[in-house]
Amino acid sequence: MRIIIFSWEYPPRVVGKLSEYVKALSSQLAANNVEVNVVTYDSTTGSSQESTGVQIVRVSNPVRTHVGVLTWVLTLNPEVERAAANIYYKANKQIDLIDVYDWHFIPAAVTLKNALGIPFVYSVESLEDHRSQAVNTPYNMAIKSIEWLGFYEAEKISVKSEWMRDEVIRIYKVPEEKAVVISPTSSSWIKEILKLYSKVDGGLKDK
């Protein structure tokens, strides 16, 4: 299996706990014979390869001046698309799926799905509704609408707790069978992730 993981943070860039999580996940996947490519943002560190064999592609934003996180994210996405397309063509168009962490790179995942038929998993760390509780400015609603697009277009949704699964279903009206709980503290963590991936792999080809 060959996959691409999208995450806006990966060591040495650490914004929150997602960074270390994605590193642990990708090395565990590599240990289980998954070819892992991570596409992430970093304006100072170049692309590299981990000792585990995981390929890290770091893109930066071609537009340096911004008026908010939204414009920054939306101009970064075409670079994520470029990096992912390069991996795709180099691998003879054989990418089984993309695993996207949070909303930042949802636009790229959605385009790649519609353009190249690569299915994606939307892995939820946090939701705009919780980060900006009861704040309904157009800015927050725009982020929420990108999350909504991700939930709609994803083949599967991965969450870390039953509570988060309930929240995703409650706020975004996601069909229950689409959201899967996989706890990172569970002993069967990687096994369950691999099981989820195998369900998604070929998901678009069946249709």
Partner: protein, 307 residues
Amino acid sequence: MKDDLVVMMLSWEFPPRVIGGISPHVYFLSKNLAKQGVKVYVVTCDFPGAPSHEVIDGVEVYRIDSYKNPAPDFATWVYLMNLNMQKETAALTRKIENKIDVFHAHDWLVANAGIGLKHVFRKPLLVTMHSTEIGRRDGLHTSTERMIHETEAWLNYEAWRVICCSEYMVSHVKWAFGLPNDKLVMVPNGVNTLCYNDIDCDLKDARSKFALPEEKIVLFVGRLVYEKGIHVLVNAAPKILEKVNAKFIIVGSGYMKEQLLNIVRSMRLEHKVLFEGFLDEQTLLKLQKCADVSVCPHFLNRSESSH
């Protein structure tokens, strides 16, 4: 020309959505390419009453939902609209089995969509630069203006070729983004003279609606915005009137309208300078035909017959 050439055109405006000059430009370009045997797809923003898909003069027009996401400001709206435009264009391109030869983007308003599509499908990207932020604002003064300028620079960097509609715009774009000569192509806008052929029956009648028989008609057609230079013409009116008995007809609308009206009032020339707003096509053609002089004081693309 290779007769099975397929072009995927990206434009934020296409008739009936008309905001500025890009809309008629893309319409006539697409229509005439189709006439030459080129298969043209246009992906553009929606407009009330216009269908999401239709064939106009042999051109396949797809209109996307451009207000799908709430947006805090105009620039963010543009980028969010690009997200949807890119997604729809990606699905359309996949549906026609990637059988396209080139993506053609018009201005920064479709930059994100065009750049991403170029890389995802590995097809060449052509760009037409109709104007620039640094030219429109006469410099870069705010973060938004700088951001738009950098987006334009990125688009010009990613483009295989950059088309401009005048020699002036070629040199301006070269200066603004540091492009090499061989990347720029000058293709002037065409002027369709055929549509004036049928208009001769009641010209006198049409003329009398705007001017007295002894008045010369000075015509301006364009948005009432800074870069169109309309304030230069309005301010020159008293000097012109010293020598010629003229009527100034201003067609179009824009944010400078009130300001221009105030200038005209302060000069007490309300009876000589008329603001007509938008006119229907027939009236405009008649007016263009009976005008004595048509003025284009545009600061940027002086040869563009933009509206």
